[in-house]
C-alpha cells in the first residue's frame, strides 16, 4: 500500500500514462528502440540531476552545473584538438577532475566562508561561462576538428544501448549504493533534515555540503565530455539555462528544496519525465519552443504537489497508538 502511495510510484504511473497517451496516436514512439533512444537522450540530464539531488538534500542549490558542464566540455574538446591521440579514458579522467575542481570551489565557498549557496553558484555560473570565453576566444570547436574516437566512444552500442546510456546507468547504481549504504550518503540526509541534530551526531555539516558540491561538480564534468562528444560541438553558450531543467528534474522527482528529502529513483524518474516530454513534442507536432514553458509549469505543479503530500504526513512515533484511535 505504501509502495503504491509513494511518490516514485505516482511519478512512474504518470510517465506510463504519458507514454500510453502518445502511443494512442503515434505507436512508433513506444517501440523499444525509440524508448532506448529517449533514455539515451536523457542520460546527461539524469547524471546532472543525481548530482544536483545530493546538493539539494543538504539544503543547498547548485546553479553552476550547466556552466561547469560547458567549461569542462570545452577543456576536453580543446585537449582533443591539441593532442588528437590522447586516449578517451584520460580525457574522461580529466573531465571528472575538472568538474570536481569547480564543484569543490563552490563547496569551499559555502563551507569555509558560509556564503549562501545560491549567491555562490549564481556567481560561479557566470565566472565559469566567462572562463570558457577566455579559453576559446569565443571560437567554436566543430566536429571536423574532433578525433573519431572523441565523438565515437559514447556512441558505441552495447546490447542496443549506446555507451552514454550505460554510463548513466552505472552512475545511477553507484549513487544508489552511496546514498543508501554509506555513512557519507546518510550524512547528506542527516545534514538536510536537521543540521543541528546532525552536528550533535558528529556530522560536520559544512563538510558534507562541500562533498555534495564536489559530487555535483564531478558529475557535471563527466556530463560535460559526454555532452560535447554527443553533439560534436563546443562553444561558450552550450547547455545555457540547462541548470533549470536539472533543478526541475530533482523537484519533479520529489526532492524538497528545504533539504533532507529526495531519492535516486525519484530523481531518475523526474529526469525521464522531462526527457519523454522533450522527445515527444516534435513527434506530436508541437513546436520545440513549448519545451521551456512546459518545464516551468512542471516545476510549479511538482512543487505544489510536494508541499501538499508533505504537509499531510506527520511523523508517526507510536504505530500502535495511531491504530488504537
Amino acid at each position: 500500500m505504501s509502495l503504491l502511495k509513494s511518490r516514485e510510484a505516482i511519478l512512474g504511473a504518470a510517465i506510463v500514462a504519458l507514454l500510453v497517451l502518445i502511443a494512442t496516436r503515434f505507436p512508433a514512439f513506444v517501440e523499444p528502440k525509440n524508448l532506448l533512444e529517449v533514455f539515451n537522450d536523457t542520460s546527461p540530464l539524469i547524471i546532472l540531476a543525481l548530482g544536483q539531488m545530493v546538493v539539494i538534500l543538504t539544503r543547498c542549490i547548485d546553479l553552476s552545473v550547466a556552466a561547469n558542464l560547458a567549461l569542462t566540455g570545452m577543456v576536453c574538446a580543446m585537449l582533443n584538438v591539441a593532442w588528437p591521440g590522447m586516449p578517451i579514458g584520460v580525457i574522461m579522467v580529466i573531465a571528472l577532475a575538472c568538474g570536481a575542481l569547480m564543484g569543490a570551489v563552490n563547496g569551499l565557498l559555502v563551507w569555509k566562508l558560509d556564503i549562501p549557496p545560491i549567491v555562490v553558484t549564481l556567481g560561479t555560473m557566470t565566472i565559469y561561462r566567462g572562463i570558457i570565453f577566455l579559453l576559446s576566444g569565443g571560437a567554436w570547436v566543430n566536429s571536423h576538428e574532433m578525433s573519431r574516437a572523441f565523438t565515437g566512444v559514447p556512441r558505441t552500442q552495447i546490447l542496443g544501448l549506446p555507451l552514454l546510456g550505460w554510463i548513466a546507468i552505472v552512475v545511477a547504481l553507484i549513487m544508489a549504493v552511496v546514498m543508501s549504504r554509506t555513512p557519507m550518503g546518510r550524512s547528506f540526509y542527516a545534514t538536510g533534515n536537521n543540521p543541528h541534530a546532525a552536528v550533535y551526531t558528529g556530522i560536520d555539516v559544512g563538510r558534507s555540503q562541500f562533498l555534495a558540491f564536489t559530487i555535483s561538480g564531478t558529475l557535471a564534468g563527466l556530463a560535460g565530455y559526454l555532452w560535447i562528444s554527443r553533439y560534436a560541438v563546443a562553444y561558450v553558450d552550450i547547455a545555457g539555462g540547462f541548470e533549470l531543467d536539472v533543478v526541475a528534474a530533482c523537484v519533479i522527482g520529489g526532492a524538497s528544496i528545504a533539504g533532507g528529502v529526495g531519492t535516486v529513483v525519484g530523481t531518475i524518474l523526474g529526469a525521464l519525465f522531462l526527457g519523454v516530454i522533450k522527445n515527444a513534442l516534435p513527434v506530436i507536432d508541437i513546436s520545440p519552443f513549448w519545451q521551456m514553458a512546459i518545464s516551468g509549469a512542471a516545476i510549479l505543479v511538482a512543487v505544489t504537489f510536494n508541499s501538499r503530500s508533505g504537509r499531510a504526513r506527520g511523523r508517526v512515533i507510536l504505530k500502535s497508538a495511531e491504530h488504537a484511535q
Binding site: S287, A293, I294
Partner: protein, 339 residues
Amino acid sequence: MSTLSTNHAPRDSAGPRKIPDQLSSPATKALKSWESLLLLVAVAIFLMNALASPYFLDAWNLSDATYNFTEKAMIAFAMALLIIAGEIDLSVASIIALASTAMGLMMQAGFGTPALVATGLVVGLLCGAFNGLLVTRLGLPSIVVTIGTMSLFRGISYIVLGDGAFRGYPADFAFFGQGYVFWVFTFEFVLFAVLAVIYAVVLHRTNFGRAVYAVGNNATAALFSGIRVGRVKMILFLLTGLMSGIAAVCLTSRLGSTRPSIGTGMELEVVTMVVLGGVNILGGSGSIAGVVIAAFVMGLVTFGLGLLNVPGIVMSIFIGLLLIGVIALPRLWKKLRRA
C-alpha cells in the same frame, strides 16, 4: 554655584548612567558603514576610469553609461525589499520577456503608446501576483516558485515568438528608452532617481518599511506582533512584478524590438546589485542608499570595461567575482582577525 548646578542636573531614573570613554557619533557610524565603503569603491572606479580612457569624462558618454544600470536598478529597488523580507524573485528577467512580448502583440493589434505602456505594467503586475499567490497562499519556497516561473514566463514568450521578433514600435514609444528629460538626463535616469527616493522613503520612513524588516528578521514574531506577513510579501511580489514591467517598457523602447531572449540573465545582475548594496541575502537588513551606490558601481565597472574594449562575457566574470568577492571578503577578514 557648582553644587547647585549638579543638583539640577537631570538624573536618569534607572540609576547612574555609564558614560563611554568615546562617543560614537552618528557621523563616525556612517563613515564605518557598508555604504560609505561602497561609495569609496565607486569613487575609486570613477577615477580609474577617468585615467584609463580619455573618452570617459564626457557628459554625453556618462549619460549613455547610465543605461548600463537604470533598468536593472529599478527592479533592484523592489528586489531589495523582497530580499530584506526573506524572499527572492528569480523570474524578473522572464517577466520582462513576457511583458515585452505582450506589448509586441498589442502593437501588432494597432494600439498606441499609452496602451502599450499599460500592457507592460499590467502584465508585470499579473506575473508578480502569480508568484506572490504561489508563495503566500500555497506556502511554497519562493526560490523554487520563481525558478519555475522563470521558465514558464519566458517559455510563453518563446511559444508566441519562436525565433521571430516584434519590430516597428510607434515613434513616440521610443521616448521611454531613448528620450531626454533635460540636457543629458535621460528619462530612464530621472525615473531611476525618482524611484530611488520613493523606495528609500517607503523602506526607511513608513510603517510598511518597518514591517518589511520585521518579516525578514523573524516572520513568526512579526505575525505575532500583528503584521500581516502574507500581505506584506504579496505586496512585495506585486511591486517586483510592477518594476519588471516598468523595466520592460524602458528596455523594449530602448531596443525598439522584442525577442524572446530579451534581458536573459538580468536576474543575476539584479541580485548582484542588491547583494553588493549590502542587503543581507538571508533577509532582515539592507538599505536603498546601498543599492543606489551599488547600481553606480556596477554601471561604472561595465562602462569602463566597455571603453577598454573588454567583451561583455568577460565583464560578466567581473560581475560574478564582484558578487562573491563583496560577500567573501568581509567574512574572510573576520576569520583572519579571529585566528
